[in-house]
Symmetry: C2
Subunit: 157 residues, 2 copies
DNA sequence: GAAAAATATATCGCGCGCGATTAAATCGCG
DNA sequence: CGCGATTTAATCGCGCGCGATATATTTTTC
């Protein structure tokens, strides 16, 4: 029965929504000079962690489906940052490997994280704490999404 | 000089990015039954707060530009939730007004906030604290974006 | 070993977010 | 009043995120 305020600024989700845009706008000029979008940057970072990952594995790391990742990877391939090849051991899988150019980005983005941290005006322990809280929130919501996935039609009252 | 980890899960921005998607997926089935997308829902909430707002005012509230808001409002108009009309006092402005159908949504979404709160598995004070922290973070980044807007070309080095 | 089920990726359409640009109305300054 | 500057929306193109679906490969089952 506890009345919930139907005001935009009351919503945590709205805060996250607008914060996400603020980060994208912050990254834009930093990544433009490398010819990367923010999601493309995330894929590159994922590949630095795990070069040769499959399309599905990259999607798993980024919480995205193949219908998003596949075209993104094709653009990265066209730009010369990655190579795409079928896995001989399982021809269903497509293996994504960084090119020399893809590895070279690692040096070129070296100052980016520092710049982003500076923009937040906070220290690292504080940012890590906040990150952990948001990850926990995300995981709780994702778990809820899965647990209710079967009974969508009865959600109303 | 302090070395920053170039790992996906280290990034606060990545946490925000994935949390934003988790929220969108959470809202999807709740809003589908009303024929609204999540950004459309935000616009409707903004109009409950301020019916008759201009396109620019709505963009201001949602941190969006007219090139995003205009087509979104046209879709809401087509769906019958809002009316769009020029402001007679200033013909440059387009005034957005909720229709009866738009106001009626207020009752139909009554259970949505509660459902979202439940999904987070947290209590209201905790959520409000987190929301305030994220808003502060967003505002810090947005201020930084503005303050450095003029000297984008020298950010390297 | 052949058919059925499961898995991995790709394709298509649509809505959003935004940079760049355009068009129209208003404002300001002489 | 007149004309340039400013303000407000709208348009266009592109990349992303995703639901729905298709295709190809592998695994399972009988």
């Amino acid at each position: 029965m506890d009345e919930v305020d139907l005001t935009l600024n009351e919503f945590l989700c709205f805060a996250i929504y607008t914060a996400e845009h603020a980060f994208t706008r912050l990254y834009k000029p930093l990544l433009d000079r490398l010819g990367l979008t923010y999601p493309q940057y995330l894929v590159i970072v994922a590949l630095w962690e795990e070069d040769g990952a499959s399309v599905g594995r990259i999607g798993e790391k980024l919480f995205l489906e193949s219908n998003t990742v596949t075209p993104l990877l094709k653009r990265l391939e066209t730009a010369g940052f990655v190579r795409r090849s079928r896995n001989p051991a399982d021809e269903r899988q497509v293996r994504i490997q960084l090119t020399d150019r893809g590895w070279a980005l690692r040096k070129e983005v070296a100052d980016v994280p520092g710049c982003v941290i500076q923009a937040t005006g906070r220290d690292l322990p504080d940012l890590k704490r906040l990150r952990d809280e948001i990850c926990a929130l995300r995981d709780a919501i994702a778990a809820f999404n899965i647990s209710t996935a079967g009974r969508r039609t009865e959600t109303a009252s």
